[in-house]
Homo-oligomer: 354 residues x 2
């Protein structure tokens, strides 16, 4: 502890060459700039021996590239499900030799701006700007000072920033297809949103898109949704209440819940009513929240691929570094597929009492 770190000059001196030569060798440009194999070998050996490590700060100062990216979110880290996005981003970055600054704004625009600025002060090569749940975001000034990618969000106003989003329409289709494939044609109810595209929680693009996908498939199969319940929040409590509401008036066969927490609430209401999943009522959810695998029976759900989203965002961002200058001015929306996780909560309707 405390001993001065080995510097490039130390390596150069110890191997009897100039700092220039050592630099060229250690940044892999020896061949290209005609350094003898003998010298190259010697430099590498001493560097290794002395335990030399490049000072990334000084490299960054000189080259303008810091091998660092920023990850700014409203409240991803704390959320119980979206942490996977950070993990994916950090992992993908590390794989390419990048380190990630993580910042949380709590949704405060002033903090957002401060984070973006202080990251640029540290010369991050780019920034991933993420939202906990999919929605339209106002982009802070300063985000455009460097490469940036939106994760789980779209720009509120016109912008040239690329974005990475879950394929919610496809998810809606997938969920509906599970319902159709199980043979359900009647007794289908929606918990969380619908029936119209405007009956959604505020700003929830996910709700709209899932509805669009579902309608598409239901219509093709000739299925008419019996009832739909918009819930202002998508928590277990809301799913519980909405399901009780359904049970008061109907005899449902299939509940499509707009997320797994709603489905959890539905399970509770169904259990209270003495109904069995999936024998009496089938249930499907969205997100693949941890809770889905803890329910009995395991909930069938369409997964939000948080890890993949994080990975993808970083890959798009790193791709931007290389494609820079080639005036790529049109914003691209990258959709990450949402896979179905099959549990035991969906069964064919019981014969005779549909």
């Amino acid at each position: 502890m405390g001993r001065r770190r080995v510097t490039l000059a130390d390596v150069a001196e110890a191997s009897g060459v100039s700092a220039t030569t050592a630099s060229l060798v250690l940044s892999g440009r020896a061949r290209e700039l005609r350094i003898s194999e003998e010298a190259e070998r010697r430099v590498k050996a001493t560097a290794n021996e002395l335990g030399y490590r490049r000072n990334t700060l000084s490299v960054g100062l000189r080259t303008g590239r810091s091998q660092t990216i920023g990850f700014v979110s409203d409240t991803v880290a704390s959320s119980d499900l979206a942490g996977g996005m950070i993990e994916g981003a950090v992992e993908a970055a590390h794989k390419r030799g990048f380190l990630v600054f993580v910042g949380e704004s709590g949704g405060d625009p002033a903090v957002e701006r401060a984070l973006v600025e202080t990251m640029h002060d540290r010369r991050v090569d780019g920034i991933v700007f993420a939202a906990m749940y999919t929605r339209a975001l106002a982009l802070p000034d300063g985000l455009h000072d460097g490469p940036a990618v939106l994760l789980n969000a779209t720009p509120a106003s016109r912008s040239t920033v690329h974005s990475v989003l879950p394929d919610e329409v496809g998810a809606g289709r997938s969920a509906a297809q599970v319902v159709v494939d199980a043979g359900h044609r009647a007794g289908v109810h929606l918990i969380g949103a619908g029936p119209g595209l405007e009956d959604i929680p505020p700003n929830s693009t996910a709700a709209v898109e899932r509805l669009v996908g579902m309608h598409e498939v239901f219509q093709a199969a000739g299925i008419e949704v019996v009832s739909a319940h918009r819930c202002p929040k998508w928590m277990p409590e809301d799913g519980y209440t909405a399901t009780r509401e359904v049970l008061r008036r109907h005899r449902p066969r299939m509940l499509v819940c707009f997320n797994d927490r709603l489905a959890f609430g539905a399970y509770q209401a169904l259990a209270e009513a003495g109904l069995s999943v999936p024998d009496d009522v089938s249930v499907i959810g969205f997100d693949d929240h941890p809770i889905a695998s803890w329910l009995r029976p395991r909930l069938t759900t369409v997964a939000l691929p948080h890890h993949d989203l994080g990975v993808r965002a970083v890959e798009v961002l790193l791709g931007l570094f290389e494609r820079r200058r080639r005036g790529n001015r049109t914003p691209v929306v990258h959709r990450v597929p949402m896979p179905v996780r099959v549990g035991g909560s969906v069964a064919p309707p019981r014969a005779g009492n549909a």
Copy 2:
């Protein structure tokens, strides 16, 4: 976009002073080094006007301090509950002008070492080394090259590193006290660990310490635990199985579950058996996992203060920077209290059938 950033030299020139003077003013050392108020005012004004921002890289290169800390964990970000630690750390750091590098090792020692090294390459001022669940960790070489704090972990071998841990013994006491205060004296069962201090999942210091605290209070109150079930993993499935086991042989009044997921499993088993919480059986858990507030009735639990743990770790680390040199060689263990979150799952035992 694309315009060169404003540099210190620009500010100096525009305000008609030397770079030295500008530097002194902008780093707040003007008074101490006798710069006239007039000059100070002028420099500050032009800096503001030009939108000057310090290049943190170059400051770091010169001073050796980067206003940056590293957060290395096995798998905190992805875990569904411990993300709060990152959030707390990031927040506390930001409040003091620090940014946080987040790295995840997945438990791989090689990755751990690589992360610590690459963070030191970027001249982090210190590192928080965190574990998802409390346990003894082997510290990677290189961690001692700078200030470091262990979070949610203790060093496996002798070390001078400070650590920040939840007060698990106190949590055990608190849980037991809730039981005692509710009036329970009989029919108490443990789900997850015990009865002996060796009947625990591998490496789970949390289990041991919670047991110690509980025993202490139970003994003082003259309570004897009827049965205890060690579960290798603490997942809902395990809680479900263990509770069914209990119900086969006993008529429990109070289930103390070693975490909330076990308690969730217990709820499922109790519901299946037609028993009501808390009228027939009281339940208490640990962690304050999101699931606790979704259960019906809400689970009473002793919270793992993830956010506070993250905050505390960073505060201890930052404190180290100042206390440096004053040979503080003895490792300190900081305990963060675990508060009780009262739900509706604990009630006095029903008269007559104890």
